[in-house]
């Protein structure tokens, strides 16, 4: 028996209607029923069909551009699979979208730090990657892989992809390198720059910077009152809390602000564009790694194929150069070329011992309380 497609089915139905074999009401009723049935069945059909598309969500701006140009376009060309890329302003925002979505709607997310990996896993979004399908994972810095696997009992739900720091960015026309080095994170609460200071509207970064300003260990804060006072001090001097990397770059480039904490890669991108922006990592500066997290319910083999492609040295290095963050590839195993060793935060040893990462258990344990308090402090309380 030959299968009838929907167009033929509709044409036959219409013919019967035109011939007077069907009443108008019956014709419209059948059309409506067909539409409803199609709508109900389509999501389940999609699960059973061959995967032709993978959804990726990331940070937008130069990061997305680099991924699109050096990873997704070549991947699509090589495999015929489509990568649909979306953007978000932060992993909290993406988590909210994920919460409202259907399983399989979102597949891979470019998440920050181990704390996001832990948080997403705690909320039940962890998948289980088959490492055999991602041979290029062997080329990654072991420390970056292990720290993820440890949290999910040896299983992996993500692959590390890049790392960087959140340091202090400053306009060299107004702040010298010496002054920045001397003052470090205290530049963000320097009265001399009132109205020319910026900051990310994210509780974790604000608390981290306040810990540096009050001389505390960011992973073991003892005096929270002092932290909130420092956050308030920064708020009162700040012109604007930025909410995305693109806004950060615009504020610095347009000289709306002279100093802010910033992501290393974004500052490097500004420097490459010819802006005289300095960057320094204060002692205990905020180090982070980013991973490609595969969300539970995603087509695993297709995602693994994409991740393996993205981790191949050729792709990974090209993306890293494009987005200005060092790749997760181990420099002891892979020749990373000339440009990557010049990027801020790059560690030639591959041990990453010079970076301070956020302790996921500590920060996630305070997330509910501190994010809410920051929301109030941010608005003048």
């Amino acid at each position: 028996m030959t299968k009838m497609d929907n167009t033929t089915r509709y044409e036959r139905l219409r013919e019967r209607y035109m011939n007077g074999d069907l009443s108008r009401r019956r014709f419209l009723g059948l059309l409506g029923a067909a539409g409803a049935a199609y709508g109900l069945v389509t999501p389940y059909r999609a699960l059973a069909q061959e995967v032709t598309e993978v959804r990726f969500d990331g940070w937008g701006g130069v990061v997305s551009e680099a991924l699109r140009k050096y990873a997704f376009d070549p991947f699509e060309k090589e495999t015929g699979m489509k990568v649909v890329d979306g953007t978000f302003g932060g992993s909290d925002e993406f988590l909210s979208r994920l919460k409202a979505s259907q399983p399989g709607e979102f597949n891979i997310a470019h998440l920050s730090g181990v704390f996001d990996y832990a948080r997403y896993a705690d909320l039940g979004y962890a998948s289980e990657l088959n490492r055999d399908n991602i041979p290029n994972l062997e080329l990654a810095i072991p420390k970056l892989v292990d720290v993820l696997a440890q949290y999910t009992d040896g299983k992996l739900s993500a692959v590390p992809y890049d790392y960087g720091t959140t340091g202090i960015a400053y306009n060299r026309a107004h702040i010298s390198d010496e002054e920045a080095k001397e003052k470090g994170a205290n530049l963000l609460i320097d009265d001399a720059y009132k109205g020319k200071i910026g900051g990310w509207a994210e509780w974790r970064t604000r608390v981290w910077m306040a810990a540096l300003q009050t001389g505390q260990d960011p992973n073991d804060i003892q005096d929270m009152d002092a932290i909130w006072d420092a956050v308030r001090q920064h708020r009162d001097l700040a012109l604007k809390y930025w909410t995305s990397g693109a806004e950060l770059m615009s504020l610095l480039a347009e000289e709306e602000i002279y100093v802010t904490e910033a992501w290393s890669g974004r500052v490097y991108a500004l420097q490459e564009q010819g802006h005289d922006i300095g960057y320094m990592d204060p002692k205990n500066g905020y180090g982070w790694q980013e991973c490609m997290f595969v969300i539970k319910g995603s087509p695993m083999e297709a995602c693994e194929e994409l991740l393996n492609f993205m981790l191949s040295p050729e792709t990974s290095i090209a993306v890293a150069e494009g987005q200005s963050y060092p790749p997760a590839l181990d420099p002891q195993k892979v020749d990373l070329g000339d440009k990557i060793p010049e990027l801020p935060a790059f560690d030639p040893t591959g041990t990453l011992d010079n970076l301070t990462f956020a302790d996921p258990a500590y920060w996630n344990g305070h997330e509910a309380d501190w994010s809410k308090t920051f929301g109030r402090v941010q608005k003048g309380y």
């Binding site: 705690d122 909320l123 012109l239 997330e367 509910a368």
Partner: protein
């Protein structure tokens, strides 16, 4: 079926697509939000299903939310008054113009063809340190240093006016356009000056349009979160920003639901007061 029965059914048949859409897209989501507002957010970010009054207690008793709500209403009121002051003369001019009314109305509608976010962000290019206005002022030598004009309460109000002014002008225009112009002539012939005729005849007759425009501006202004986010400074958040933060940043959907319902109730009360004294018919005319 009798003719009477058919006539009784006909309005419901015609209304059924709209009623279905309203039920599916407004009423049912609202019920979900109401149910959500009684749940709790756990420390991990997951929701605890149940009937808890904690979110409502927090939303109603915490000074933080009350203050931001009052600030939001204040900004919406300032914006509405300024829209009325600026919008009335524009609407009057359009209503009384003879040959080019259609072109003027088209010009009034033009901003709606551009995204609200793009329109809001355009102020960054105008008022920024390297924006058009500073560049011009520096060029003509009035200032030596760029002025810091962005990211404060004034720019939030400016952005809101930019967004809401056409709504005010349209509503007032509809009202003025329906007034018989000979009434002013009659007042003049009875000895009133043009100003007196306007104050005692035209203005009172156009008040329903002004009120409808005011209501729209106020409700839309009080519910916005894009403008303070893009053009506001650290302390310029409005109530909708709290809802956004609770739901998106803090993943606290139950509290966010309670806050959004709280704003809905406050603005709903305002609409009810308006409807009680002026009726919704004028608003429909303005929107149409």
């Amino acid at each position: 079926m009798s003719v009477e029965a058919r006539e009784r059914r006909q309005p419901w048949i015609l209304l059924s697509p709209a009623l279905t859409a309203i039920t599916l897209l407004l009423f049912i989501p609202l019920v979900f939000i109401a149910v959500y507002s009684f749940w709790l957010r756990t420390a991990t970010g997951a929701d605890q299903v149940g009937f808890f009054l904690d979110n409502w207690q927090e939303a109603l008793t915490d000074r933080f939310y009350r203050d931001i709500l009052l600030y939001t209403l204040k900004i919406a009121a300032i914006t509405t008054i300024l829209c009325a002051v600026m919008g009335y003369p524009a609407a009057y001019f359009i209503a009384r113009s003879k040959g080019n009314k259609a072109i003027l109305l088209l010009l009034l509608m033009l901003p709606f063809w551009i995204s609200y976010i793009i329109r809001t962000m355009s102020w960054i290019n105008i008022l920024g340190v390297s924006g058009a206005l500073n560049t011009f002022l520096l060029w003509i030598g009035i200032i030596d240093e760029p002025l810091q004009m962005l990211y404060n309460q004034a720019t939030v109000v400016l952005g809101l006016i930019h967004f809401l002014l056409p709504f005010m002008v349209l509503n007032v225009f509809v009202s003025l356009d329906g007034i018989d112009e000979t009434l002013e002539d009659a007042a003049n012939s009875l000895g009133a000056t043009r100003w007196q005729a306007f104050l005692q005849v035209t203005l009172p007759l156009s008040l329903p349009g002004l009120a409808a425009g005011g209501l729209l501006c106020f409700v839309l202004g009080a519910g916005t979160y894009i403008t303070p986010l893009v053009l506001g400074g650290p302390s310029d958040a409005m109530f909708a920003n709290l809802v956004f933060e609770a739901i998106i940043t803090q993943l606290n959907w139950p509290l966010g639901s309670a806050l959004s319902l709280m704003l809905l109730v406050v603005l709903g009360l305002l609409v009810m007061v308006y409807n009680r004294y002026l009726g919704m018919a004028q608003l429909m005319k303005g929107l149409g």
